[in-house]
Amino acid sequence: MTLGYHPLVKRLLDGELSLAELPSELRAEGAEALRLVGAVDRTPLVLSPALDDRVMAVVRRHAASRGRRAWHWLTAARDVELRLRVRPVVWAGALAVAAGVALLLLARAPGSTPTVAPVALGGARDSVLVRFVLYAPGARHVAVAGTFNQWDRNAAPLVRAGTAGVWTTTLALPVGQHQYAFLVDGERWVSDPAAPAINDGFGRRNSMVAVTARGAHTL
């Protein structure tokens, strides 16, 4: 087993020291270490030209099957559930209490479940009004972004409702399942405390809401 490199030689390899800055007794070891990292091959690798076609072929297939799944989901019979929930949570000191989302059915088929707050929507039966509410008394700006607006942080700002720190907006969402989160002061993402959330796979939580042609509910 060879001894490891001296800590100063490791700093040389990290680019924090030059060979000339090493004590003379370590320069031979330093030169050896530089030969090691000098053997790194940095030649750019070019993948097969066919990769693009292979990826796009799978992408087209997935896009098509996604469309079929969406059609089956839209046409399948299911129960409709409406909820109005406000739940306090503690969030990061500055935003001590938050409240959640209220989902209001807008476009409903004749004879369907009564809505919490009926509002006309110009006959668009594939959209549902969803009211987003966040209690954020310390915030200067709040927006909601999600799959329904391609996570555009500027598309759906919330407005203050009175002076109590409540921020709100109402959006017409298309039928489907949506993920979303609140963006506070343009930099802090906050999941909705009143809605279930899923891990987005990268350490963040996205809130979930499902919207059907006859109703909307948190998942």
Binding site: T2, K10, A39, D41, Q150, R153
Partner: protein
């Protein structure tokens, strides 16, 4: 929105999410080779790296609606590719065929710009990299192959600079031992 090749990542992501599936080819062309070296080094061969990049690009499409910050698509794609590389290594471990010296397809063929000794050392290093832990290998590749600084690596991987340095310094010691006949 700009022309297909000039459009920003954010513009392309929004177009794809809006139903223009073919626009995804712009992102495929843009990133197909960018992370090839990383994937090939992490998995020990160019073929395995290419499979990982292809899979990552497809997974990114499937999960594009989850891309919260489309202007940071490149970093998001890297995380998907990184997860894919680690998953592949775990799969190989389960199947009892971890990376070994036969998976040295990344090593360059004879290089006209190097002496025989340099070429041998280069190949020896490629082989030696397969004996590092995945974490050591990753930090070595990102720093010395991709040329990233520790804080940039930390930003990509979520690890702290201190822990990255510790991994790297262990990698240096391990490589010195593995490369002793070539230094």
């Amino acid at each position: 929105m700009g022309l297909a090749g000039d459009a920003t990542d954010s513009e392309v992501v929004r177009a794809v999410l809006g139903g223009e599936v073919e626009r995804y080819a712009v992102l495929v062309r843009r990133y197909r080779d960018r992370y090839a070296r990383y994937a090939a080094r992490m998995l020990g061969s160019l073929d395995a790296g290419e499979d990982a990049v292809q899979d990552a690009l497809v997974r990114a499409f499937d999960r594009l609606a989850d891309c919260r910050e489309p202007d940071k698509f490149a970093g998001w794609l890297f995380l998907i590719l990184r997860n894919r590389c680690y998953a592949e290594r775990r799969r190989r471990q389960r199947e009892g065929r971890p990376l070994d010296e036969r998976d040295d397809g990344v090593a360059a063929p004879d290089r006209p710009d190097g002496t025989l000794e340099q070429v041998e050392r280069m190949r020896a290093l490629e082989r030696s990299l397969t004996h590092l832990t995945p974490e050591q290998r990753e930090v070595f590749v990102l720093k010395h192959v991709e040329g990233l600084a520790y804080d940039e690596i930390a930003g990509r991987t979520g690890a702290t600079v201190a822990s990255l340095k510790m991994r790297m310094h262990r990698a240096y010691d391990r490589l010195r031992d593995l490369m002793k006949e070539h230094l």
